[in-house]
Subunit: 344 residues, 4 copies
């Protein structure tokens, strides 16, 4: 930790800062600059004490150098983490393709779409049974019935599935059926939920919040990890900016930035970032180009009948097209779609 003093900090202000640092049991190192003093602090444990120093007179700024996340940090875990979900692997250097309807609407709809994406090469199924909706008047999902339908779809296709857990009340029922639990973007800082999901014994797909910094995203992963779940995959699905030409601004820059500081896998949701049918494939390929470990894509065979976000779903044939181009893009990058053979 570094404490930058005001240009005009007085002797007694400096002394008070030094005393406080020593009061915490740390060491203070004076680094006189051209026109101001910086005090290096060593022996400190982390983020906690930063702000108390900042409120002292004569202190301009306190700079935290050590990252506040530990388990999610690449500094303490240099190898990429590989997250296993049934026979699917995230982070092994290849690309995972997750596809399915935004919402589970009926047995027929889900089986139809599950078949469609399985036969076109998806490795994992997605579908919402519990749907958090901005409006209390919107369709809120089929609940446990939706989970049963997804289970049936898994039986028929052999694909494991990921589905959202919306609250602590439903963790156990969702964990009973699902292969991977999804934390929605609105819940990325629902810490009570994160703690409980961390203990549920299942791999987790955690969506980045709409205006979460990279550090906050990793702190939320840390909540999961410190509570027992080491199998965390991050999902970028667009952030909120001034832009109004897409539903959200897909922030592909977070992919290389996350990989720089963390060992966790990261995938892209091009459907929710795009929000528009015609731009899903461009967003998806951009995500692959940025180095994402996978994609999670809305597919619907009758989008005009969808109860949720039909405007952003790919048709099965468009999903085929995405698969074809993705294979080529991955090959150019030295990757494949699907789990690495040698890792099996």
């Amino acid at each position: 930790m570094l404490v930058i003093m005001d240009l005009n900090a007085t002797e007694s202000e400096i002394k008070k800062v030094e005393e406080r640092i020593k009061g915490f049991g740390y060491q203070a190192h004076f680094i006189p600059g051209r026109d101001r003093l910086t005090i290096g602090v060593t022996g400190n444990r982390g983020v906690e004490e930063r702000l108390y120093l900042e409120s002292l007179p004569g202190v301009l700024q306190v700079i935290q150098i050590t990252k506040p996340y530990k388990l999610a940090s690449r500094e303490t875990h240099q190898e990429n983490s590989v997250v296993q979900v049934d026979n699917v692997q995230f982070g092994d250097g290849n690309v995972v393709m997750i596809a399915g309807p935004c919402a589970v609407e009926s047995m027929e709809q889900t089986l139809r779409i599950a078949d469609a994406v399985a036969s076109r090469g998806a490795q994992m199924l997605r579908g919402g049974a519990y749907k958090p909706r901005t409006s209390p008047y919107s369709f809120q999902g089929l609940g446990e019935k939706g989970l049963e339908i997804l289970t049936k779809a898994r039986e028929k296709t052999g694909l494991p599935f990921v589905t959202e857990v919306q609250d602590t009340e439903t963790i156990s029922v969702v964990a009973h059926y699902a292969d991977m639990l999804q934390v929605g973007m609105r819940n990325m800082q629902n810490f009570t939920l994160l703690k409980a999901i961390g203990k549920a014994g299942k791999p987790v797909l955690m969506k980045r919040g709409m205006s979460a910094t990279l550090e906050e995203t990793l702190m939320s992963a840390e909540y999961l990890m410190v509570n027992g779940c080491r199998d965390v995959v991050i999902c970028e699905r667009g952030v909120r900016t001034f832009g109004n030409h897409a539903r959200n601004t897909l922030d592909i820059s977070v992919v290389p930035a996350l990989k720089q500081v963390s060992h966790l896998p990261i995938i892209i949701d091009p459907s929710h970032s795009s929000g528009k049918h015609y731009s899903v494939i461009p967003h998806a390929l951009a995500g692959l180009g940025a180095g994402a470990d996978g994609l999670i894509v809305d597919v619907h065979d009758r989008p005009e009948e969808a109860l949720c976000d039909g405007h952003q779903a790919l048709l099965p044939d468009e999903f085929s097209q995405l698969m074809d181009v993705s294979k080529g893009v991955c090959a150019a990058m030295g990757k494949e779609i699907g789990t690495k053979k040698k890792n099996k």
Copy 2:
């Protein structure tokens, strides 16, 4: 609802849109423009069907005119709502001053600060017993013990208190002690929590999410209201932007904008927007100037010992100064601090 057609929409595309509108049981009105067709839709119920039309070929854009929120809208409730919390009133035209520590740390600390703000004219007490924290390693609050301390502080000062409910598990215990329940900004779209808090039978202070639009904010209020809580006060505490010279960007523009479309009261949290000791009072006075119905302010008598956000707390004497200037600012605007006499 208005459906804007592409410049080059074909006859058959137009026909298909018309058929779908009629299929929903609505009426379609053709409005030929200089170079494109707009179709007015009447008889529709609301937001639900918007997106299905948007996915039809030949449709450029669908414009929703009717607001998706009903109970929170000024169109259905033209008078300002007045929210009563014990003998305190929000939205009666006057200004409510809430003050107290960010976190309840101990009986002594809380009673000291409660006395300090009560004697200086605060009408309501604030203090966190359950603290959502970005880091799993940070102080997370005293829990129910914190609520007991706040209750003691209420007994001593006569001031009702507001405190955050972090999850559904603790609603009943918080509601047992507190006069007003706070929804934190990270939970503004935790719909399970909103539904449950809406049924708790207490007035609610709902903080606007860090990147929530006005419409989303009112939709979350709608979740509370449709579940039974009509006593909702909104709180602006800063939004996330590119700016880095304050903890958050206090969006005072939301005050007049909300009052234009909604009847709900809105207050300002200058401590969390500012994040810096020296700018709390400027943020507070800006909020009053914008027309806010109240302020909620962190006060601490020993900020350098605070377990949470000490750097943004006002000292008791600074709170006195805020009270003094606020009285003058309110008077200039034809308001007072405190409940309107005639309304008692």
Copy 3:
């Protein structure tokens, strides 16, 4: 244009709006909704009159349907524009690779780097002679001498070059030497400069402003086009958001969105969006995945000596690597790097 009336608009307010519409010589079409009136306006010329109606009492909102840009719109020019710069083509379906130093620093440095990128397959050279810098104390470029150096590099390598025009005073000198004029992102709404550059008789590469909407970007292109320059290429180089893990947030979503509404080519600048050496290639490949018509990349063989932005330059060998992967990614998308043979 559509005029949405307040729910409680009075008869006389409605009448006044109707009169004003007719006063402009337009037609007013009444579209009664479930609970409010919308007035369709036809015969209007464009954006100008929008705001006068919005200031009338009883008007909730005025919705402009016709886009304010004309020449840049795909509605009036359905085919993709192909912009020719010497023997290089933007927008023909293939991908153009522009590379070179951020700033021209000396004859030796520029010739060395120009050779390096030419021999590795770049089709066009970049390099700044006039450098707009945030600080008045930073290196501001070599000026005309820089242009002479770039001309020499063109002679040696055969590659045409693009360079920034910073002000009207230097348009003629830059246009004398350069093959393509660049408008910097800080000048995207410098309308005096746009008008003058539009008349300079050279193709233009216009960088999107750091917080420019798509509509504003196309309005600025419109300034160039209405003044005579039809050869406009847009460049996305990252936008400003709350994110702090990259220099800017590369907004790849603008690529498909722009192509939906405009016929102009668009390229990506991954160096300025990334700002960090290690993430330039991921940003570049994301741009290609999103469908960009080209890339413009900083390359420097001695980045630690660069006078400008050395931290974001690729080394020549890294540029080779980018070229290799890009070829594969383009092939997967049915494209090539370089001008389409059939178009020659």
Copy 4:
């Protein structure tokens, strides 16, 4: 300057950084931390060398401590600057009220409005003669004729006027007529223009760019100051965020933040931030509450006829109301509207 090394930086990487620091002629101070090395650099001149060090292997981050602006910094000029424009003073502790039409449309319109605002207590006149407009098809101002009209209005009312300079070509003519030159927000980083305006010998009102950080804003002020103009007033007029309920998000937090680091006066433009008639006064009073040194307000007596931004203009009677409430708000803050008597 502080150089933070990677956790795993090697001996030779550290040595290379040290050598480079010494190569610049500076001193390197080693500050070993719990788990990583920080190197303090002293003797450096400023911002220039930061990035070269950042591109070295083993370097995690370089932290610049000394602010890159010098003349605008409070560290080198501790007293508030007072900017004198004729008999008006900005920054003397009181509040300056500037009012007038957005655009000069005609002699009659301007004289009418100038009379209206002068008789209601404005101390300075505003009005655009050269109007930068997003659309090339919009009204672009009367040019020099507009300046003559403003001069006439000054003669009649005795109020000095401020008006925008859009480009270097018109600096001399604007400076010939105007009392204060305005730099528009789109030109805040038009460095050629800033340099030239800095030499024009007139006080300058510089609008903050729509997404300019505080540091960038002060760097642009620095451009003016280093070129000779010490009389710079900053103007906050709203920034661009995700918010869509106002034209821009008025960032009142910049007022106390700027005053913390700079001695320059800052005023608020509530008309351009609000964009809506009904919210101009709330924005204005918020600006005063935040501590602004003045306001610049659009006033129009026939807003429905205005050629520019009529929807955001106050009527003369509303301006009276703003003046009345402002007087009270200022009094509560220990200020007055108008120049301090003792300073005359």
